[in-house]
Subunit: 440 residues, 2 copies
């Protein structure tokens, strides 16, 4: 006999937790679909050549090989490590069958061959949403992404702060500060560490890169601008007066006007949920305009739980077309696992059942079946207790599983259709016609 | 640049097909939950020792290993090849946290390291449902499984024939026929091939096993009994008169009475959907009572698309408790892929959008946003066209994606809230108050 134990990094939930996970996935899917995005599901497995098409991957990848095959030397196939590469491959492969602009979401597991370590997942859910178009994509899609994410967290009942910035502002401002073009990416990468290593740390790194102290000061001043769009842009215009006039200010101005456009489209979102934060950078080099991060004020330790941005070209590795897009991704497993751990999400509900029909004695089986069939026809999850036992035992069955209501079928006749219903939440008990249970 | 191509055995759907797959999964889940079964999801990955706990596995297994790691010699982890072994492992691991009887369903992908071959999948969906209890499980759960499956296929609009037999009838009858105990499994295995290789083929195999011709005749006579329960048992009682009285007839009688019980519980299911078929056997040795197969009269080539049965002990490899159960599994990907191939399931619908709001000119953007927000608040998937372009182009956008209705916002004011709605199905167009769209 084998005593099974959890495998580190592969989270698995108990029934009550899984019900919560289902609610989260259903909510995310519902909102994504409310905006007209369509579901895609790609296989877990891709060719290694596809996964590495962008060049060396910094994520650890799990290859797959047949157990009964020869010892694995050259990996041909592997598990996807994100949902962006499979989406790009899918678009490249099915370009002729897709209508552009193409709005898709993808809620799937991804795998990373991390070494076992607390809090590092090797299998986890991501919930991605992206829209791509050919040659150019209207800017208001950049506003749609935060609108969608705001609605997701609102429906989940979680306070969220969506942070928005624009790479054009960063690049334009930095280059106006005379940060050399070839150092831009490296400087962005350092600036991204501001929250992690603090102002002094970033300053030291930038000095090491050869930047002058006054330039560094200007860069750091930009990173501190956050708040509503109006106030941020006001303070930015003050910073701008210190800058030498420069050819690249055009890029800066474009970034500013994009940010203003998005702020206007999202003016209905409360200020505390939408923060224009010129300090966010995003690690990935491929974002070219709007960028997003999302923090949860009640769970600051999580950092950004939902990030993304605008990119110029989704699938250049797979198809010779320019396909710009914008997208965002929720780190679902990381979020849920934290909410479980800190007790913010828990439930006594162990199953989807709304009503347990008690089975008081063998002869009442037909009554139980008739009641169950009626409720199920009305899409109400219903169980019949599995044996004619003491009622106390049957009620305990419901109680243990968090089933909210119990039905006693003693008065049932196919003609009268009266039942007694007990709410386990408040202990109230009443006799009603069965149709009253289906009237919400 | 890499030209991406499909990987044989890893099915992937276009958006319209994926929408259909979602409908199938939603329907199966809905019905499973209507009977109070709760969702489980186990990781894709199990320890190889767990997957092989029952001994050598006849399915091909995909091991996983880190691409950047050393060459893989000893596989530690692998992708699950079914959902039964992970369920057994889960129950063994979480026994103390689960309430028995435990009713669970699991709709997940499984992987098999098959060599590429037409119609053989290497990644596919299964939709399993099982109930387990400790020491004994009431027989009416054996009737619940076909009830559930019947409702699934009814809601999917697919004609299905659920075939029911009982291993006790087979074993009891065969042993009354004086098939030696130690040959029982081998004989069952041969009998299982009746539909594949025909009566003569099976006869030849059984002769080779050393069975006498008259015994073989009796065995084959049993296999031909199918129809409603009453007629099948009547014909069985005729066959029984030919049998020598024998100690094992007790098992036969028990199987008969179990079959009768199930037939009585399911008497509301039309005869053409529920067939008592003493010819079905099921390959797996571990079934001990009721067994199920499901064929689709409109797609006979698929064979059984949904099979299962009663077993004595789910998790004996992982826990020292007797946990009998009964379960059944739908081969979803195999079913869908066939329905797609033969054109039985197809759709012009490319996205979940119900209404496309046209955007006639830039100034009308606020009206579009207000209409969209209203509909989304009422859970109606809605898109706003992405640019103020010619209306013809916008309607074509909806048409190409199978979006059923288009809204023209010209008359909209926040006070009056009137819109023009065009149905693309029948071309009708009318001016209505927006609230009329949310009244179903």
């Amino acid at each position: 006999m084998i005593k099974p134990t959890p495998i580190s990094g592969f989270p698995e939930w108990l029934p009550a937790q899984r019900l919560i996970e289902q609610r989260y996935i259903d909510t995310i899917r519902r909102v994504y679909e409310l905006y007209g995005y369509t579901s895609l599901e790609t296989p877990a497995v891709e060719r290694v050549s596809v996964l590495e098409a962008k060049g060396e991957v910094d994520k650890e990848i799990y290859g797959i090989g047949r157990l009964q095959g020869e010892a694995q030397q050259d990996w041909e196939m592997a598990l996807h490590f994100d949902l962006t590469v499979p989406f790009a491959r899918y678009v490249g492969q099915n370009y002729g069958s897709l209508h552009l602009p193409f709005k898709r979401y993808q809620i799937q597991k991804v795998w990373r061959g991390e070494r076992p370590q607390e809090g590092r997942f090797r299998e986890f859910y991501q919930a991605d949403i992206d829209v791509i178009a050919e040659d150019s994509l209207p800017l208001h899609f950049d506003a749609e992404m935060p609108a969608i994410i705001h609605e997701v967290f609102q429906r989940l009942g979680i306070r969220a702060q969506i942070r928005i910035n624009n790479r054009k502002i960063l690049k334009g401002y930095y280059s106006a500060c005379q940060v050399p073009e070839e150092q831009l990416i490296a400087v962005l990468r350092e600036a991204d560490k501001l929250e992690k290593i603090g102002e002094d740390g970033v300053k030291a790194s930038l000095l090491k890169l050869g930047l002058q102290e006054d330039i560094i000061g200007k860069c750091l001043a930009l990173s501190k601008l956050k708040g509503n769009c109006l106030s941020v842009l006001q303070r930015l215009s003050e910073l701008k007066t210190d800058l030498p006039t420069d050819s690249n200010s055009q890029m800066l101005e474009q970034g500013i006007s994009e940010l203003e456009f998005i702020a206007k489209e999202l003016d209905y979102i409360p200020e505390e949920n939408l923060i224009f934060d010129l300090g966010i950078v995003r690690g990935l080099d491929y974002y070219t305009g709007t960028i997003y991060e999302t923090t949860l004020p009640d769970y600051p330790i999580l950092g950004s739980i939902c990030s993304g941005g605008r990119y110029d070209n989704l699938a250049s590795e797979f198809i010779n077309r320019k396909l710009p897009g914008v997208g965002i991704s929720i780190g679902l497993s990381r979020l849920l696992s934290h909410l479980f751990k800190c007790g913010a999400e828990s439930s006594t509900r162990q199953c989807p059942t709304e009503y347990l029909i008690t089975w008081p004695e063998p002869s009442m089986r037909p009554a139980c079946l008739q009641i169950a069939r009626y409720l199920r026809q009305h899409n109400i999850p219903t169980e019949i207790y599995h044996e004619p036992q003491a009622l106390k035992k049957q009620v305990r069955y419901a109680d243990r599983r968090g089933i909210p209501q119990v039905i006693f079928p003693h008065q049932w006749t196919p003609e009268e259709q009266m039942i007694e219903v007990k709410s386990l939440a408040d202990g109230t008990q009443q006799t009603v016609h069965i149709s009253s249970l289906t009237q919400d």
